[in-house]
Amino acid sequence: MAGAARGTLTMRRRREILLGAAILVFLALLPLGVGNVYLRGLIVLTLLYAGLAQAWNILGGYCGQISLGHALYFGIGAYTSTLLLTRLGVSPLFGMFAGGVLSGGAAFLVGLPCFRLSGHYYVIATLVIGMMVALLAANWDFINAAQGITIPFHQESWTDLAFRTAILPFHYVMLAYAALIWLIAWLIEGSRWGFFWRAVKDDVAAARSLGISIYPSKLAAAAISGAATGIGGVLYAHYIGFIDPDSTLDLSLSVLIALPAVVGGIGTLWGPLLGAAVLIPVQQLSVAWLGSAAGGIDLMVYGALIMALALARPEGLVSFFQGRAREEAADHG
């Protein structure tokens, strides 16, 4: 009995990786069934946000530190690689590395003072820092201020992530990104750090009594989350071919990064993916159908949907799938 029970956690993790692999295969074949260019673009964006939301989830979900400033790390990644390519001719493959390191470092630096703050003040501090940097970037001539930077197209090249029609190649780039961040989250869930972070989220005093240092745990989670977000920023920049502070550093982006994780199920493996799959299409479609001419109606539709989901499923969309399993576990207990 005990032996069988001990296997449950191991078996659950094995099931997750198998399901992950199945979803990966499905998504890799998806373009075969979807010819429509607009829909393909929608899927690319959804995959990007699935990765970004999972990156956010590493800090916000597992470690419980809610950030509303993740656009900062996204923007640092986007600008780093764009500047490296346009000014120095450095390949985005290195840009990805540099962008990841810099954005991870930035998240670490933001954490140094902010993790000394308690509770809600961390949220507010990240929000304010993010908005401040966006404002500074919009006035910083070295990075073309509010005008932004265009990545000129020379020739098709995987090393430059440059394609005449970017959508299909970037389907696989973003899929690889989303899969990588998902895999990192899966590894974290099973690791010593992952256990420590969840303990920090659930109960700080109890975590301390087991020998867990709170502050370094938060810093480590922030650095990994920031780096993962920054890599997403790099990929976005080369996908769109144009960046400016509005599209890479704005507060609304910070919210858009956090929302899929929150709506899908915070601190869960599948929540960010599920949330992105629901929210990003709805958000894009409501922009497309209702248009910006309607003056924010798209946002109202979007907001109403999120409210409805939050009321129907406070624990996130994943709980639709978990309900059965939980009750079964309780019956055995």
């Binding site: 001990r6 449950t8 659930d202 005093a205 939980r326 576990a329 309780a330 207990g333």
Partner: protein, 242 residues
């Protein structure tokens, strides 16, 4: 007494105008079960928090295995081998029983397979074997207490602080809890336990410290404690003193 595992020397702590602990001194021998008794607000939990490092005393020092630990913090104390439970249970509610205990096991284990093995053993020892995969928040109150003990035990402590682990349990549950404490001692773990109800505590402990209004009222073996007029006065009031 042999070389004490824990030595409390002149500990005082005030919260604002409330003197929670006043000049407390005593020693605990290795392998001993020490009871900490006293009415509400006597300063028992406050003293626990000071020993476990989560509160810094205003005055005095604490030596653990000859090393000064007052002021080093809860994390360092845990790493040195002081485990504890809380008066108000604190479980990691987003995790299962196994995962809760693995958190403790990870203090020594690097890899999750090792942590899982260690946690499984401790869980079985604490009588939670059938509950491994139950979410912590679904446990009954006595099982939550067992979980807290299992989690602390997974850090392989030399000294275990149990704050009111038997309070609120039915007589049967309390008896099982007492047996668990005896089993823990048989493992060589030194134990300090706080309890209100003297009847449960006295047959279990080697020695007791009685606190009242922050001060140490007396110290002695269980039989001496129950007969002492000061204890009767502190618990029942002056009119019961013969």
């Amino acid at each position: 007494m042999a070389e004490p595992l824990l030595a409390i020397r002149g500990i005082s702590k005030s919260f604002g105008s409330v003197a929670a602990n006043v000049d407390i001194s005593f020693e605990v021998a290795p392998g001993e079960i020490l009871g900490l008794i006293g009415p509400n607000g006597a300063g028992k939990s406050s003293l626990f928090n000071i020993i476990a490092g989560s509160i810094v005393p205003d005055r005095g020092e604490i030596l653990f295995a000859g090393r000064r630990i007052s002021g080093i913090g809860a994390v360092a104390c845990a790493r040195l081998g002081i485990g504890r439970t809380f008066q108000v249970v604190r479980s990691f509610d987003s995790m299962t029983v196994l995962e809760n205990v693995m958190v403790g096991a990870f203090l020594h284990a690097r890899r999750s397979a090792a942590a899982m093995r260690a946690a499984g053993e401790v869980i079985a020892f604490c009588g939670l074997a059938g509950r491994q995969d139950v979410p912590a928040h679904r446990l009954s109150p006595p099982d939550k207490r067992r979980l807290e003990i299992a989690r602390a035990l997974a850090t392989r402590p030399r000294l275990l602080l149990l704050d009111e682990m038997l309070t609120g349990l039915t007589p049967t549950e309390a008896r099982e809890g007492m047996q668990l404490v005896r089993d823990l001692r048989a493992q060589g773990i030194t134990i300090i336990m706080v309890e209100h109800v003297m009847e449960v505590l006295l047959p279990l402990i080697d020695r007791a410290i009685v606190l009242d209004l922050g001060r140490k009222l007396l110290e002695g073996r269980p039989a001496e404690i129950v007969r002492h007029p000061d204890v009767i006065r502190a618990y029942l009031g002056d009119r019961y003193v013969a």
